[in-house]
Amino acid sequence: MSTIARKKGVGAVLWDYLTTVDHKKIAHLYLIAGGFFFLLGGLEALLIRIQLVKPNNDFLVGGLYNEVLTMHGTTMIFLAAMPLLFAFMNAVVPLQIGARDVAFPFLNALGFWMFFFGGLFLNCSWFLGGAPDAGWTSYASLALDSKAHHGIDFYTLGLQISGFGTIMGAINFLVTIINMRAPGMTFMRMPMFTWATFVTSALILFAFPPLTVGLIFMMMDRLFGGNFFNPAAGGNTIIWEHLFWVFGHPEVYILILPSFGIFSEIFATFSRKRLFGYSSMVFATVLIAFFGFMVWAHHMFTVGMGPIANAIFAVATMAIAVPTGVKIFNWLFTMWGGSIKFTTPMYYAVAFIPSFVMGGVTGVMLSAAAADYQYHDSYFVVAHFHYVIVGGVVFALLAGTHYWWPKMFGRMLNETLGKITFWLFFIGFHLTFFIQHFLGLTGMPRRVFTYLPNQGWETGNFVSTVGAFFMAIATVILLINIVITTVKGEKVPGDAWGDGRTLEWAIASPPPVYNFAQTPLVRGLDAFWLEKMEGKKELTPAEPLGDIHMPNSSFLPFIISFGLFVAAFGFTYHNDAGWGLPVGILGLLITFGSMFLRSVIDDHGFHIHKEEVLELEKKGANA
């Protein structure tokens, strides 16, 4: 079987991506789908800011505002931020540990398609009566009362499907990192981004099941007559809040830890210095993850859990500031005395530190339970979580996009346009959210679609809306940059930035399908940098050149996920229409039928022969 890349038709390329199990192509899929949802969520954010630009505005009123607000949050967290992080994990982690592939290529593809169809299903709600409208947290007290349309059902079923995909992705990364590291790649020689992926995957594995259970309860209550959250029949809406936040708080670390990992790579690369305090960085990452499971109730201080529970969760929350502070100082010390190169990714990294610290400081303020009664449900909270999520996660995503784009696609994004994007985004971000702290402190409630004049909120809201447009323009420039780069960007060598430290920079950009012609021997932290410092241009191989085993492509992941997509439609409408139940069952049959096929049809993969590998390597060296 030949694997040499030829010019292919559009249909062939499409089929290739629909059936691929290659982690590098799955990374492209995550990047495209996550990027699309990021634009969608951004558009929703703009609509929110337009509505709030002046008092008593009637651009988006009442229910529609609630839908846009809910979908903005849900889309950004579940369908944009996480998949974009998964894009980088897929693109980079197997390369960073010197692996030819992930542990479960088929499952990896299945995870992507589950996420994709879940997100698609959720967004179908826009065209079928109305989107979910109970906030991204979808508290049961609101969600069970939302009876005008099926919005909430699209939320519960869509997130269940995409959640399955996320759990699969997490198991795949855990096993890949534990079992498939190259010889010499001990745990304490793993790059920080790989460490972050590892810890994040563990968080996903243990945090997503409670969400799944909560969503199942919500689905049962709304569609099948359950009584979990119905107080009239003995149910309790607080159970949803607990289940949601037992997931929801680890979720914010699921977002931020990989972002920390991306920045750790960037700081070390462009300071051209070893990451300061590597072991303490690893320890801090693990500690943050551990604490992350013990603080969920700080989202519920005003529920009435009592002073003892509030105090315990307040102290646990404040404790997280310690390992986070360790990280901040380590990044500063990495730059200290380094020979710093100010590239676009480094701009984001440097800007991230003060921006994120501000979000951290307001986080500690919010963790003081007594004070939280004042901040609760105000724009102060909105400002806080946008400072950590935009100032932390989105900055990291933009930085990662610029940093790994040459590795993923073989062409360098334009640096001038990149820096323009950065400045517009950075200024727009602070313009939008800084002033929201003060709007919140002066009493502006979150999630309310309008406000009255003469309460002192006009200027603040106007400034905030202007800032949002800065970020929108920045995103458009990034898109233009991507188009220009794809059309006529300069091709780059393997070590695209010239300062690569980790294994991914030691192979061609984009990497060949088998990643490493010979599995490398890792001799220390920053394995590629070590080799370069000894005057070598390539890695030390750990094995002779030989045939390479590869997994077969498969269309089944797509079908399995599609089946659930069909089933979700059926069950959503099973109370309204006769076709509901049969369609639901049909969907499940498609899913379980294709799982059965997967089980009974042997899949041994295939081999790329040594001669072909040699030929491909020669081509790669010339490119």
Binding site: V175, N179, V213, F228, G235, N236, S599
Partner: protein
Amino acid sequence: MHAEEKLTAETFPAAPERATLEGKNKFLGFWLFLGGETVLFASLFATYLALKDKTNGGPSAEELFQMPIVFMATMLLLTSSLTSVYAIYHMKNFDFKKMQLWFGITVLLGAGFLALEIYEFYEYVHEGHKFTTSAFSSAFYTLVGTHGSHVAFGLLWILTLMIRNAKRGLNLYNAPKFYVASLYWHFIDVVWVFIFTVVYLMGMVG
């Protein structure tokens, strides 16, 4: 060693489920999956405990649960876990026929358990304990029903493996599959031990 190798009782490795990289990955990945499943059931148990006394005028746990049928179901499932251990024992000794036999007994015992559970649910519904009756009933059926659907899935899974491999015997490609299916079966059994204790025993003692 690779997956397609033809093996004999002498060359068959001591841990066939982990003899290939694919097997090692499956083995570890499945253990991690069970970790996630544990959290899933923990959430279901926590909710059940919070709602178990909210009967909304419907029958309570003491009125419903009958020891004989639950005890019988428990014995069937516990025994099936033991028989699946025998199956894996014979798999490691490269004795395909005996493995199939013991897996067959496992499936029969599991099917017996499932039949008893379906009968039990049927009885409860007749006594006015429906899914929609109360918060207690919703939590009960969701917890015990999730376990039951795991049992059903496990039965179909083991049966599929037995039929698919009936003619070709053991190799390093299917040995990890049999092994993780048996892990899954043990997990279901452990969850049932907790259901028996937390739902039925605590329910009957009050």
